[in-house]
Amino acid sequence: MPDKPMATGWFAQKALPVLRRQQRRISRRWRNLRSQIAPRIAVLGTTGLALPGKAMDLQSPQIKTARLRGLDAMVIGPSTVSEEHGTGAAVVIAPTVRNMLIRAETHSVPTVLVVEAAQQLETPLAAVVTHLVTADHQLLGPLRDFAGAERTMLLEQPTNRTAVTRILLELTSAHFRPGA
């Protein structure tokens, strides 16, 4: 069980949370403004969506150093979901994708999985991304059961780049969507 020590000084208890909140508020406003003008979306694998970003080549040596900081979202295609472990016993996240996700987490980049089949919800990748989208009306219910209404969205027009971008920004830019 995690049982971690906590700093108890005045700065850690009082000042740091306030400073962090302010920092988050400023960066959110800045990101929202910038995203409206020039959205930055990275793509892993084949998504079947019309997106402004170009798909990253997971086989490329440059993938390890690709700049992720400041991305609005990293969209992950269903084809990259997982691979069989060496023993064949378990489905695991492909190491290249996992390492990209670790970097995305470190830079607080939202990660959006495109779901095409309900079985994808049983994979480890679905458990670690921040958001899930689907173009299939029938999958929206299972998606919401799995990840909640605020983390999931239906892509009504998956081939319309403007509509897809708008949905992705709407989904990932607000932490609370109580009307969802």
Binding site: P5, H85, I102, P110, A127, F146, P178
Partner: protein
């Protein structure tokens, strides 16, 4: 698997024997079959196995199950129970040759055993609190314990949510006298004797520590032929995973299990996956569905008998572990004993004694800094003052101890609040071992100077000794950016459940006006709850209130006084 045990000590009467049968019936209603395992005129007890083949009325158990004779540290635990409790970290009940009984807790205090001093001089005991309450006619709430659950996450000093029902603390015991009277006492706690000593060879100590953990795991892995280490993004769990692999034969199926602790990041799961790949171990990530939040929360509350409010997120992985035979290894106690995270800061010597006590208590009840956002004014003041007052004797007791902060943290948080998760929740799924709170490991760790362990300084040695491939690997904490994941507990689904539960229950009068009056059917009202649940400290306080509400629902009609507002404010 954690052994179910219950019974009665004292001069048995038809009424007390009926109470014992009531407990057995309550267990049966939960699908647990118990058989009489020992009986005379001053005591009776039941276990799943019943009377042993040798006909000896004695049993030692912990969350890994009943100890087979081969693993029992002493041949005669009735006369040498302190050795059994210490060396096997086991609870036990034993009939002595003169017919008297001894019932005892474990050295770490992480094993859970409740005792109820019932009217009439008899003492009922059980590993499950609910069975005790089913045998009691009427019970009084211990409102003081609820101030502690809200503030610390669990009742302190062996209290429970019922007056007269007590959880055995480290090395605490009950024994019957010849006349059938029951005395409660505590044997010396050896961990108080373990103090920092100069280190001549840290490598030797490191290897001995690893050796002790491995030795505990070995027989369980060998017997099951499988192993289920819990693997997070931290150091303790990867150490145990590596040791489980070291102790496994080629044919042993080792599966490392990871879940989300709902902390607002997926780094724990991702780093765990990276570790699993490095160690070449089968790995599963099991997280909770949002539509199952209420089910997970209520099942966790039930599993820990409403006595802790921390680990509701464990339930999805526990369901899977129930279907996966093999011992579970949990790293409880690693941070506090091996990680050196709970030593006083270097400037502690400049603090006054009272400030040092307050600092040690405050670090465990830090959630109260946000109390006014969640609790009504009088409730916040009551919870704050009464919970701190309850913690003070523990902090005072170890104020001048060289491991003072470590022992204070251990007794205020690890034992009451964290231990129910491995002991009661994981232990219900499969046999669960907690190697880091075993006596030899605690002895070695507590005997190291603070500077050797401070800020995790000992971990590189331990990890390298466990498996050189772990050397230098980052942890989730090392990489943590902003916690930008939606916490499940702060979702609309969870906020609607928890908000509705508390607002519509008897504890609503304890809520701050903004939460009490928030309209959950409107997005704005729901968001008020979501914002509170998204922040660790208010969330902790809300979990405590939700636990209180569920407990009142469970025991309604059996409680003498069920007004939590009056109770908590005037505890």
């Amino acid at each position: 698997m954690s052994t179910p045990v219950c019974g009665v000590l004292g001069q048995l009467t038809p009424a007390s024997q009926q109470q014992a049968e009531d407990m057995v019936t309550a267990a049966q209603q939960e699908g647990v079959e118990l058989q009489a395992a020992g009986h005379n005129e001053t005591g009776i007890f039941y276990t799943a196995a019943g009377t042993s083949a040798a006909g000896v009325a004695s049993v030692l158990w912990n969350a890994a199950g009943e100890l087979p004779a081969a693993l029992a540290p002493t041949k005669n635990p009735a006369t040498d129970w302190t050795a059994a409790a210490r060396e096997a970290d086991a609870c036990g009940i034993h009939q002595r040759s003169d017919g008297s009984w001894i019932l005892h807790g474990s050295v770490s205090g992480t094993q859970v055993l409740y005792v109820y001093e019932a009217p009439g001089g008899v003492v009922l005991f059980s590993t499950r609190l609910r069975w005790l309450t089913r045998a009691a006619e009427q019970l009084s709430p211990d409102w003081q314990s609820w101030t502690e659950i809200i503030a610390f996450g669990a009742p302190l000093s062996g209290r429970t949510t019922f007056a007269g029902i007590h959880r055995l603390k480290p090395m605490e015991y009950l024994e019957t006298t010849g006349e059938g009277r029951v005395n409660r006492g505590a044997a010396h706690w050896a961990w108080e004797d373990y103090t920092p000593q100069p280190v001549s060879d840290l490598q030797d100590i490191t290897e001995a520590t690893i050796g002790h953990m491995s030795a505990q795991m070995r027989p369980y892995i060998a017997e099951a032929g499988t192993a289920n280490p819990m693997l997070s993004g931290g150091r303790d769990s990867r150490m145990l995973t590596a040791l489980a692999l070291n102790e496994s034969a080629e044919t042993t199926e080792v599966t490392a299990w990871t879940t989300s602790s709902d902390s607002g990041t997926a780094l724990e799961e991702l780093i765990a996956a990276q570790v699993a790949e490095t160690l070449e171990v089968d790995h599963r990530i099991i997280t909770g569905r949002y539509s199952q939040f209420a089910q997970d929360f209520t099942e966790y509350a039930d599993a820990v008998d409403y006595q802790a409010s921390f680990h509701f997120w464990l339930m999805p992985v526990v369901r899977r572990l129930k279907e996966t035979p093999g011992p579970i290894f949990d790293g409880i106690g690693g941070g506090v004993l091996l990680g050196g995270g709970f030593a006083d800061p270097p400037n502690a010597h400049r603090l006054s004694r009272q400030d040092l006590v307050a600092a040690r208590i405050g670090s465990r009840a830090r959630y109260l800094t946000e109390a006014q956002k969640v609790l009504a004014e009088t409730a916040a003041a009551g919870v704050s003052s009464r919970s701190s007052a309850a913690a003070e004797p523990v902090a005072q007791q170890y104020l001048d101890h060289p491991n003072g902060h470590t022992l204070t943290s251990y007794l205020l948080r690890t034992v009451p609040g964290i231990a129910p998760a491995p002991a009661k929740v994981l232990g219900r799924a499969q046999p669960t071992l907690m190697p880091m709170v075993s006596d030899p490991v605690a002895q070695l760790a507590l005997s190291l100077p603070h500077e050797v362990k401070a800020d995790g300084a000992w971990y590189p040695y331990l990890l390298k000794a466990a498996d050189p491939r772990l050397e230098g690997m980052e942890t989730a904490d090392d990489l943590m950016g902003r916690r930008h994941h939606k916490r499940r507990i702060a979702s609309v689904e969870a906020a609607a459940y928890l908000g509705g539960l508390i607002q519509n229950g008897p504890a609503s009068g304890l809520l701050a006006p903004q939460l009490r009056e928030a309209d959950l059917s409107a997005p704005g009202g729901l968001m008020t709850w979501q914002r509170m649940l998204n922040s660790q400290r208010p969330q902790h306080l809300i979990r405590g209130l939700a636990m209180l509400t569920l407990w009142l629902q469970e025991h309604q009609g059996q409680l003498k006084d069920s007004d939590p507002v009056k109770g908590v404010q005037n505890a």
